[in-house]
């Protein structure tokens, strides 16, 4: 659970416990929702989404960082 931590600069710092390494378990409220996710995961059709378009554009111009010597 997020906790209110110590005061800093007159504001409460929000703190959250460090996440452990663990698999991703997805819970669904209905079978329909679960099947919708499976269909999405297994479909080869591209989704029209402004966020994905932004990422596609970003990756077209992304230049990989070199390793520091």
């Amino acid at each position: 659970m997020p906790k209110q931590g110590n005061l800093e600069g007159g504001r409460h710092k929000m703190t959250t416990e460090i996440k452990p390494i663990r698999p991703t378990h997805l819970e669904f409220d209905s079978e329909e929702e679960m099947n919708k996710f499976i269909n999405y995961a297994t479909s080869t059709k591209k989704t029209s989404d402004p966020g994905l378009d932004r990422l596609r554009q970003l990756m077209k111009t992304h230049k990989r960082a070199p390793e520091r010597k």
Binding site: M1, P2, G5, E8, K13, M14, T15, T16, E17, I18, K19, I21, P23, T24, H25, L26, E27, F28, E31, M34, F37, I38, Y40, A41, T42, T44, K46, T47, D49, G51, L52, D53, R54, L55, R56, L58, M59, H62, K63, R64, A65, P66, E67, R68
Partner: protein, 173 residues
């Protein structure tokens, strides 16, 4: 132009000075757990430096799988297809030092996310991988949604964390 190095003991001073005080768990992870997990080969951390050799950000990745939660299947008696496990890479933590977040000058958060996607796409060329997964804090949801990640569920019993996925197939030409 940023450069990167894998985390090691030689970076202790830079890590000790890393400031992510608006989300202290990100800072604490880097300072307390990242090196240990990296040396164990359980989770790999890359540190990113600017031209003045300031540590501006980092991210940590590990191999993951998406599992459709079995207790719900049993509870409701749902029929499932054979495929209910999906290989993935989890973006465990990503952080940019608050002193290097001037969006007018640079977009280090966006750049680091580009590095993550680039790396995971490389992995996916040689080993099965459907998704990049994230357990996102509420404060970070809008950032990930801006780049196409979708909320797939809210974690029960884990406070405010949200499971998010980015399907790698969406990025194929």
């Amino acid at each position: 132009m940023l450069t990167y190095k894998h985390i090691s003991l030689e970076h202790k001073e830079a890590i000790d000075g890393f400031n992510c005080s608006d989300e202290i768990s990100v800072e604490l992870f880097l300072k307390e757990q990242a090196l240990k997990l990296h040396l164990l080969r359980s989770a790999v951390t890359r540190l990113y430096f600017d031209e003045s050799q300031n540590l501006v950000g980092f991210f940590t990745l590990y191999n993951d799988h998406v599992h459709l939660y079995p207790s719900q299947k049993a509870k409701h008696g749902w029929k499932l297809p054979e495929l209910d496990l999906f290989p993935a890479v989890k973006l465990h933590y990503i952080g940019v030092d608050i002193r290097h977040r001037d969006r007018e000058l640079h977009r280090y958060g966006e750049y680091l996310l580009g590095e993550v996607v680039d790396l995971v796409e490389d992995i996916a060329k040689n080993s099965g991988c459907n998704f990049i997964t994230i357990e996102a804090l509420p404060s970070a949801l809008s950032f990930y949604e801006k780049y196409g990640f979708k909320v797939s569920s809210r974690q029960r019993g884990n406070g405010e964390l949200y499971n998010m996925v980015l399907k790698l197939g969406e990025l194929e030409e």
